[in-house]
Amino acid sequence: MRDVAVIGAGMTMFRRRLKETGKELCYEAAKMALDSAGITLKDVDNVVLGSAPDAFDGIHMKGENLSDGSGGYRKPYMRVFTGGGTGVFAPIAGWWHVASGMADICLVVCEEKMSCIQPHPQAAFAHIWDPILDRPLKPNLVWIFAMEMNRYMHVHNVSKEDIALVAVKNKNNALDHPCAQLAAKITVDDVLNSEMMAWPVNKLDISPPSDGAAALVLASKDMASKLTDNPVWISGVGWSIDSTMWTNRDLYFPEYVAKAAKMAYKMARIDNPKKDIDVAEPYDPFDYKELHHMEGLLLCDKGQAPILTKEGVTQRDGDLPVCPSGGLLGVGNPIAATMGVKACEIYWQLSGQAGKRQVPNDPRTGVCQAWGDLMQFGSVMVMRK
């Protein structure tokens, strides 16, 4: 297994609507990542694209359409897709391109243009469900989150107030992110009093749909040593998918994230993630999801994430900073492109480039995670300085 380093990253603004085409968004993020790594497209051996449903951008096989903007012109170009898990899964695919020896430099680009679908991305989410069992009931995407959140609250006796603290923290953290769409100083009451969408989910519990793109440059050890004196190493990768039959699972715990995390920790030789992880970027499309995923990532015991949050442990200056980027809740949720606030953020944090968002604990080991499909898929990546 060859060592793989991250040597550059880039991202666009996350906004409800951007003027750029999907290709142009890919280009902007990719170009930024290449510039930051000090290389040009000529130096890139392989390109990996991560993008979620074609139904957002409104282009069948959108990976093909996006290939030139992603730098795939006349190169080996590969698209992977694991629903919302794509934002961390695409860099994992990039990792195996380099670790296998197939590429010395691999450019990973993630893109989503959710504003194409009208009047709301909900129209695409309507088709993620089983056509025979679920779709005849005309479900809304928020329903499954509401049901999962309810189950989590029920099993661990967690209050809405405790969960709202996550939204407060992340939107506040996002004030320091130049790309943020929904950064704000808000209170727990603001969350609880925001519009009720599907109990127990209020409007401010949810991250917004966004347009955006992000990119990473991955390099083999030899290349990295030539190109940078500040590499960040991908030391563990893991991914796992649970059964399609989501109505047969107890939703209170994301077993698939735990499986993925164990795989990644094993590879990274981490025995005690609670102690060894200095900074975490779990997937937070909803505020309870950060808690759910902290537990899935084994960063705390089951049911303990709300307590850590209440105690301030997960604040940027806490013992375990969680979503210092501002996460999806604060920066925005262009599904696959959330790589920008997950994998890219951990790279920036570990390489000391996170500026105003830099966590003060001199982090050496970080973990990022994404989650997708029908509450079913977990992707986990551990990175080290």
């Binding site: 003027k19 280009y27 497209l41 504003s115 679908i117 009208q118």
Partner: protein
């Protein structure tokens, strides 16, 4: 195969109908917006030039697909060019036979790299040839909305 039980009564087999339909609006992008506004206002075809690769892209791009340079040099391109290849379409999108064949072509405008895709008009299918010179026919200004369809078709240059 592989299952322990399968019905032999074809009437018991069900299918379930549905769709994946939605409405879409695509922004034409940083380069596309400028291109279409130029067509709409001035009936003029423009491109962007990569100085490094010596390529003029039509439709214009904001970046060179080959070297990834940001393209900022805009150039006017001729509305005339030659047919690089063409096909005579007798089948419509729904699989039905067309009342009248449509001729699709790749047209290499003078000064551009590659060729744009459009229809040919005012010509019989049997008279079309690779290498034939053609010219863009625009809609009237008040009908133009900023779309590739602001060009009605290309017709042979007399």
């Amino acid at each position: 195969m592989a299952m322990l039980e399968k019905t032999t009564d074809v009437r018991a087999l069900r299918h379930w109908e549905g769709d994946m339909e939605a409405d879409y609006i695509y922004t034409t992008g940083i380069a596309g917006d400028k291109f279409f506004k130029e067509i709409k206002e001035n009936a003029k075809i423009t491109g962007t030039k990569c100085k490094k690769c010596e390529i003029v892209y039509v439709p214009p791009r904001m970046y060179c697909e080959r070297c990834f340079e940001n393209l900022e040099q805009w150039v006017d391109v001729s509305d005339k060019g030659i047919v690089h290849t063409y096909t005579i379409c007798n089948m419509d999108l729904d699989g039905s036979k067309m009342d009248k064949p449509v001729i699709m072509a790749v047209i290499k405008l003078d000064g551009m790299h590659g060729g744009i895709i459009h229809k040919l008009g005012e010509v019989n299918p049997e008279n079309v040839k690779i290498g034939m010179r053609v010219q863009a026919i625009f809609k009237n200004k008040k009908e133009r909305v900023g779309s590739i369809l602001d060009i009605k078709y290309f017709k042979p240059v007399k």
